[in-house]
Amino acid sequence: MGTVLNIAPVSRIEGHAKIAIHLNDAGNVEDAFLHIQSLRGFEKFIEGRPAEEVPRIVNRICGICPWMHHLASNKAVDGCFGVTPTPTGHKLREMCQVMAHINDKILHFFFLAAPDFVLGPDADYAVRNVIGVVKAAPELATKVVKMRQLGQMMLDKFAGKAIHPIAGVVGGFAKPMVEAERQELLEGSRTLLDFACYALDFAKTNVFAKYMDTIGSLGVIKTGFLGTVDRADGSFRIYDGRQRLMKADGSYVDFEGADYAEYLGEHVEPWAYSKMPYAKSWGEGFNLDYENPKGIYRANTLARINVCDQMSTPKAQAALEEFRAAFGRPAQATLLYHYARLIELVYACERTIELLEWEGITDPNVRARVEPRAGRGVGIVEAPRGTLIHDYTTDDNGCIKSANLIVGTTHNIAPMNMSVKQAATSLIKGGVYNQGLLNQVEMAVRAYDP
């Protein structure tokens, strides 16, 4: 019998997981798993709730990306009740969503991932964290804390609650924006855009250039990708668009969200509560073998950056061009998720400004007329962690009859398992391991930001 190393909890991620590495008698990796530890049952306990209440219930699926659930849910309820939000209602929702993306990316890159790069993957575990970063690079840290707080407070002030939002409503938005709010948000967004450009430059020189070897090897697997693109020109989109499912060779199909069940299936393994979505439409089944995966695609930042034809904002487009010139399309290296995340950060800031500069943004007509009724709606947005799908059916009273959710993080459960096994197998040989190496296995998970 060999040994099992239980890396628990996987830390500096946003959910509950553990890694189990099974070593054989020779001390080599026999198998490795990422076990997903929690199941709460949102699909079921929203049954019977009035559909318009659900966007302020399902946001509790994730306190890091509550806006994503809130808005996907609102879009699904729009569908159930057969209502099209007013143009301003849509744009206010989108603005909140892109602002939430800004905060999320700052949080993930600097608070959770950066310690591995700023202090080094082998640094002592007691200092390899955001507190260590604060002590090692106080100037950078203060700036990061300020920027994250600015973004969070802008949302809090305009929309009442940044965490577990309530301002998105079926038919649109709960309150219009007034000119004074627009001015204040614009000023904040410009500051955030400056910071985003600084962050990307910082990471290019201090992280990506320095860790090129690690990037080229750690947790690298070859998969397809899923994201959302503009219906008209294939540009990067996060609030609305068509879904694009790309194979590892770069070929792709686009589909409308309502048809998601024809393209995606969810596989269940007995050792993880989380289901594992896969590309059912490829007709090759599901297999986690990292050298020969079947049906496996990835979502989240790198996926979106890979599937889009271009970014619709200038600074992000320039960054994308540079990225593609260096890594190709689709780029496969797992640690490039971090690079893609910062390109998205730049986009999100530019897009916020674009939305605030749109002349209709202060229009008071923010909510369309709504009548509860029986229907079905599929609401999709791009959450930081991947394509988020809420699919509801309502009864005559407009209460939820059934729901199906595919949560962003879950798209990457299968690929994360592959990356973990790839990383463990290549790092641990002949029974030799230490906390630095094991942390590198965790880094392969952290890149996905689960």
């Binding site: 530890q37 709460r40 994730c62 969070q152 007995p270 391991y433």
Partner: protein
Amino acid sequence: MGVPTALEWLGSCAGCEIAILNIGEALVPIITEALDIVHAPVLMDHKYFGQCGEGVTMEIPEATVGIVTGGVGNHEHVEVLEEMRKKCKVLIALGTCATHGGIPALMNGQDRKTSWEGIYQTLTTDPGATVPTVEVPAPLDRIYACDEKVKIDMQLPGCPPNPALIAEVIVSLLEGRPPVLPGKSVCDTCPTKREGKGAVTTVKRFITNAEFTPGEPISEMRCLLEQGYMCMGPVTAAGCAKLGAPSCISARVPCRGCFGPVRKDGNQLLDMMNALASNGIDFNSVVDRRSILRFSGAHGMLRPVKKRIEEEES
């Protein structure tokens, strides 16, 4: 060296952890000087089974202050919570999940087993899938608040809790004084205009926006309950107000009770029935009354409905 502090999350959504970060710049001296964080899965890499994962029993370091978020839903949560209790001198339950069950305790209103089976039989799930059981923590019969399982020294609800109050709890502990917390209801912190009982006899669903003039202060808007919306301000503990009004009200949206009952062991459903009755509003006009307990379904408040009763109610 700061005060040794351990953080743990049970069935948490991480929103409570984000609320801690939202203390903002004031957090920097707290976590780098005042506190010495010895364990916190979300922020640092201390492991239960040793840094190389070779141990067999879970271990969390000794700490003076312990903060737990999330409710208790499975056997691992129980194990972690008990270990926290054992190792921490003062144990704080942070967030409504930890204090009252929170949204995940909505599951307490259903038969958990049947519901879980249903989750693995949805439209997109591969046929034949069953509830996972290998190397994943087994569920408890229902969702519990932390104080149903271990002694809790201090409770700070909110979904999420108010960052200013989290800071106050930490700082007051360090200074050895009781924290200054708002003790009354959300309504007590709400500046909306109350004109007294009106013509409203039923509550409406939130499918139309409230009446107000954009840009005018909240104090110029009429109370949402008086406007005919079900607003749970009267039966919800104060604490969410940040910029001069309760958070939801400041976005012109009615309260849904996320800070839990006004008194720790209050019943938001009974309290709301009374509040509506005393305003002359027919309680039967509330669609889905059980969801009034959506944030406080632990402590046996929310239970599966018997078939017979369900037929009566619907």
